[in-house]
Symmetry: C2
C-alpha cells in the first residue's frame, strides 16, 4: 500500500509512531493530486506551498513535544462553500469569484485546532444546488461524481486526501460518497456547527464528512462535533464517536430494510443487491414498510428547500440573475412563490416523521436502504438523483453510506444506514459491523 | 389590610409562620371574587369546591410536615388559553366551547408542584388576539382591562388572586397589567415553557405573569422557569429571580429613556409623566434614540404574527369561519397571503435588533419607556394599543411594567423597563429599585 492510500486512522498511527511525518504524508497526497487532478478536477484551490508550510509546522510541533490534536497531520479537503481564511471560497458560483474570507468557519478552526492540514478547497456545485461543477467521477471520467459536495467526494475516492468535509441539504454528502465508492457520513442535525458555511436552506443544511472507512469518518466527525448555540440548530452533546464505532456491539445489530418513497426509481443492480444483503442478514433484517405519510416527504423536503433558498439567495439574484443557472433560477422562482403558511405547515412534518421513525428505532439498530437509485449516471450535466437521501436530511437523522455493492458496470453502489436522531455513535458502530460482515461474505 | 390584599410574598410568610392557613387565604379570595366579579368579569371558570379542596389538601400537607413548594398555598389565576386538567380551557372562542383538557400545560404542572392553588381560568380575548372578552377594568368598568390576558390582569388588580399567568404575543401581558395598575412581567423568550398553551405565533408567544409587587412577580416566574427543550424555543437556564430582585444593586442603576417607534401616539399624561421621571432620575437617566432600523420593528412584528397565526389557526377557519371575529379573520386572511421569503426575511431582524440593543445594555441597566401610549381606553370594543410592547416581544428581551404613574382621570399608567435577553434577574432588581425610588419621591 502506498502512502496516499493509508486510511486516516492508519496514517495517524504511523505519524504517532514516527514511521512517517506529516510532510511525507502531504507530499504523497500532493503527488497523487498531481497525477489524478487532470482527470478528476476535484479542487478549486490548492497551493502546495501553503500545504507544505502547515505540514512543516505540525511536524515541528510534534518534534517539540507540543500538544497534539486528534487529527494531527491529516490532510483534509474543504468544500468550496465553507469559509476558509485566506483561501478563495467561491460557493461554486462566478458571482463569488475572488471571494477570500478573512475568518474561518467554525469547523475549519476546529480542524486547525485538531492539527489537520487544510489541503485546499474542493469543487461544489453552484451554491450547493444542482448545477454541476467541473469534477469527474474518479472511477469513470464520463460519469458524475454526484453533488453538491462533488470535489470532496472525488478527492477522497481518488486518494488525494484521506478526509474531506461537505454539506448536505438534500443528498449532497451521501449521494456523491456512494457514486464515488467511499464512506459518507451525515450526522444528526446540529452535531457540527454551520457557522461560516453558505446557508442554502437553514432547516436542512447539515455538515457531513467523507472518508475511506467508518472509523475515519467517526474520527473526523468527533473532532468537529461541537456545542454551538449560534449554529442555528438545536445543539447536541458531543458523543464518543470513534471509540464507539470501533467497539464491539453487545449483540449483533438488527436492521429494518426500508423501501423509500420513490423506490420505483431503484434500478435492477440496486434492488438485486439489496435482496442479496437482506438474505445474507437473515433474521437480523426485516423489511419494514414506512407508513403512508412518508410518501409526501420528498415534496415536503422540496418545498422547504426552495422556500428557504429563495430567501437566502435573493442577494445573488439581485447581484447577477443572468449568471445563475436555469436550475438555480427555477428553484429560486419556485421558492419565491411559496406562502408562509404552507412553508410553516411543511415544517410540522419534521416532528411527525421523527415520531414515526421511533417505532422502527425501538426495534432495530438501523434502517438499511440504498444511498441512491443506482450507479453514478454517465452524464456530466447532472449530479444524479438525491431522492434516497432527502427524506433523511429533512428528518434530521444520521445517515452513513458504505461502498459495499457494485453495479454491472463495476461502478460502486452505496448501502445507506440510518439511525435515530442523536444516536450517531451507535449508527457508526452498526455501520462498521455491517462493513466487516459483508467484506467477509464476499 | 384585609387578607385578600396581601401580596404573595407576605401571604407566603404568614402561612409559613402559621398566622393564616391556605384555606383562609383562598376563602378571602373567593369572597373578594364574589364581591367584585359581577363588575369585573375576570373568570371563565371558577369552582369554589375545587379551590377549597386544593386548599384543604395543601394545609394538610403542611400540617403533616410534607415537603412544601415555593408557592405553597398561593392562589393563581390561569389564562383561558393555558391547558388545565379538568377545567374548561376554551381559548377565548366559542369554537372551543366545552373543551376540557385531560393534561396540564407544563406550567400548570409546575404550579401544582410548587404548591399553588389553581384558582380557575381567566378571560382571554378570542384566541389571544384582539377581539375582547367580557372583562372590565377594575378601576373603571367603562374601560378595557387591556388584552389578551384580560382576566388575569383584572383578577390580580381587583384583589381576587395575588398572582396570575398570561401570555404575550404582541402586548398581552404588559399592556393589561399597565391598564389595570399592577406589575406585569414578560420574561426573556424561552424562560417559561409554552407546552400545553395555545400557539398563536410560535416565534413570539411568551408566557408572562401578573402580581402586585416586583418580588411577587419574581417569585412566580422563578417557580415557572424551566429548562424544557420541547418548549420550541431555545431553553434558558433558570436564574435566581426572587433573591436577585430583593437584593441591593451594587450601584444605583442607570436608565436609557427610549422613545419607541410610534412615540407620536403617546398622550400628554404619558409624555409629561415620563419627562418627570427622567428629571427625577437625573444623571442616572439619558434619553437614547433608537437607530433608524427599529422604525420598522412594528411592521416586522406584525408580519411574523399574522403569518404564523394564519398557519396555526387554519383549523379554526375550517371548523367555523363564521364564528370568528372580523378582527381575527382579517389577520388570518392577511397572514395567509404572506410569502415564505418575506416571512423568513422578517425573522432575520430579530438578531439584528438584539445586536442593536447590546449597545444600550453595555451602558445602561435598563431601558425605561411607557407600557402603553396612555390610560386604558374607555371603550369595551378594543383592548387598546400594543404598540409600545410588540417590539420587545419580537426581540425577545425581558419586560416589566410598574404602576408608577397616573393619568388625569386617576387611571394607572405603566412604566415599562426592558432588560437584556437572559438578564431577567437584573431587570427585576432594577425594577424594584425604581419602584422604591418613585414611591419615596411621591
Amino acid at each position: 500500500m502506498t502512502m496516499f492510500e493509508l486510511s486516516a486512522t492508519e496514517a495517524i498511527e504511523k505519524m504517532r509512531g514516527g514511521a512517517i511525518t506529516c510532510a511525507e504524508l502531504t507530499d504523497a497526497c500532493l503527488e497523487r493530486i498531481e497525477e489524478r487532478e487532470e482527470a478528476v478536477q476535484a479542487w478549486t484551490f490548492l497551493d502546495a506551498d501553503v500545504v507544505r508550510a502547515q505540514a512543516k509546522a505540525l511536524d515541528e510541533n510534534r518534534a517539540a513535544g507540543r500538544p497534539i490534536g486528534p487529527l494531527h497531520g491529516l490532510p483534509v479537503g474543504i468544500k468550496d462553500i465553507i469559509d476558509t481564511k485566506g483561501m478563495p471560497t467561491e460557493n461554486g458560483t462566478v458571482l463569488d469569484a475572488g471571494r477570500v474570507p478573512n475568518t474561518d468557519a467554525v469547523l475549519v478552526s476546529q480542524l486547525r485546532s485538531a492539527g489537520a492540514v487544510i489541503m485546499g478547497k474542493t469543487v461544489a456545485t453552484e451554491l450547493a444546488y444542482f448545477a454541476p461543477g467541473k469534477t469527474h467521477n474518479p472511477h469513470d471520467p464520463a460519469r458524475t461524481p454526484g453533488g453538491s459536495s462533488s470535489g470532496s467526494a472525488a478527492a477522497v475516492a481518488a486518494g488525494m486526501v484521506p478526509l474531506a468535509v461537505g454539506t448536505q441539504t438534500a443528498g449532497s454528502v451521501i449521494r456523491p460518497a456512494a457514486f464515488c465508492g467511499i464512506v459518507g457520513f451525515k450526522p444528526s442535525r446540529g452535531l457540527i456547527s454551520r457557522r461560516g458555511v453558505l446557508c442554502q436552506a437553514h432547516t436542512l443544511d447539515t455538515i457531513g464528512v467523507f472518508a475511506r472507512s467508518v472509523p475515519d469518518a467517526a474520527m473526523i466527525a468527533e473532532a468537529l462535533a461541537a456545542f454551538d448555540p449560534q449554529n442555528g440548530q438545536t445543539p447536541r452533546p458531543t458523543p464518543p464517536l470513534l471509540a464507539t464505532a470501533e467497539s464491539e456491539a453487545p449483540v449483533p445489530p438488527s436492521f429494518a430494510f426500508v423501501k423509500q418513497p420513490a423506490w420505483d426509481r431503484a434500478d435492477a443492480d440496486t434492488s438485486d443487491g439489496f435482496a442479496e444483503i437482506v438474505e445474507l442478514l437473515g433474521e437480523q433484517c426485516d423489511e419494514f414498510p414506512l407508513p403512508a405519510p412518508f410518501d409526501q416527504a420528498l415534496e415536503i423536503h422540496h418545498l422547504i428547500q426552495v422556500a428557504e433558498l429563495a430567501k437566502h439567495f435573493s442577494g445573488y439574484v439581485r447581484k447577477g440573475r443572468d449568471q445563475l443557472s436555469e436550475k438555480m433560477l427555477g428553484a429560486i422562482d419556485e421558492g419565491a412563490g411559496i406562502l408562509a403558511s404552507d412553508y410553516l405547515a411543511a415544517l410540522d412534518w419534521i416532528g411527525v416523521y421523527n415520531a414515526g421513525l421511533d417505532e422502527i428505532f425501538d426495534r432495530y439498530d438501523a434502517i438499511i436502504t440504498p444511498a441512491a437509485p443506482g450507479e453514478a449516471p454517465a452524464d456530466l450535466t447532472t449530479t444524479g438523483d438525491p431522492a434516497f437521501c432527502s427524506m433523511w436530511t429533512l428528518i434530521g437523522v444520521p445517515a452513513v453510506t458504505l461502498p459495499l455493492l457494485q453495479s454491472a458496470n463495476n461502478m460502486p453502489l452505496g448501502v445507506q444506514l440510518i439511525g435515530r436522531a442523536g444516536d450517531d455513535a451507535r449508527l457508526l458502530r452498526t455501520a462498521r459491523w455491517l462493513a466487516l460482515k459483508l467484506s467477509q461474505a464476499t
